[in-house]
Symmetry: C2
Subunit: 113 residues, 2 copies
């Protein structure tokens, strides 16, 4: 069974910002790194990532600049802004709250039986 896609919603922006915390990256690189760092759990699609990056740029959470390509098309690098870092910390806190609450519901259930 493939990972339920409907479970995988809303956190991609957070994960992308997180990747940029380690240094500037270009889109294709983020897809591969996210795949690697998640032990092949996340298969972020190009059709999801690029519009997402454009949205983050519009909101001022990342800035973009052109870089030379080692191979293929020229690369577009993204850098985390100060506001992007702040947004990341908020999203991380929200994620932790959410995950903790799910854990409570999943674990707290059968105990009182």
């Amino acid at each position: 069974m493939e990972l339920d896609k409907s479970l995988v919603s809303g956190s991609m922006a957070m994960l992308v910002l997180k990747l940029l915390e380690d240094g500037d990256k270009y889109g294709y690189q983020m897809i591969e790194e996210l795949r690697r760092r998640s032990d092949d759990t996340f298969h972020l699609k190009a059709g999801t990532l690029y519009p997402l990056l454009h949205g983050l740029e519009e909101k001022g959470l990342v800035t973009a600049y052109e870089g030379e390509a080692a191979a293929g098309k020229p690369r577009r690098y993204y850098r985390l802004t100060k506001r992007g870092g702040a947004a990341l910390r908020e999203k991380e806190a929200a994620w932790n709250d959410y995950a903790r609450a799910v854990g409570r519901v999943l674990e707290g259930g059968a105990c009182l039986a």
Copy 2:
């Protein structure tokens, strides 16, 4: 800051099924119990829950029956089916995979700096 809604997607069906693991429940009751068990993190809306329950019933994951109301309108109770229980276990496994992968991305980042 309110809990980011876009982070709270896709897992509601799982949580509702989980609530029914402890015994039959009616809709309004689930809203309150989910709120309580999540320490006020989840505010499941009626407009979300009832269509969700109808969908679960169509898929054969729950069955419904009318019950007498202590007050107000008659209550519609829901019971977890065998297939519903199996679906729940799958969703729990998927959630654990997902949450673990997010954790890896969030924690594995700054370490190699």
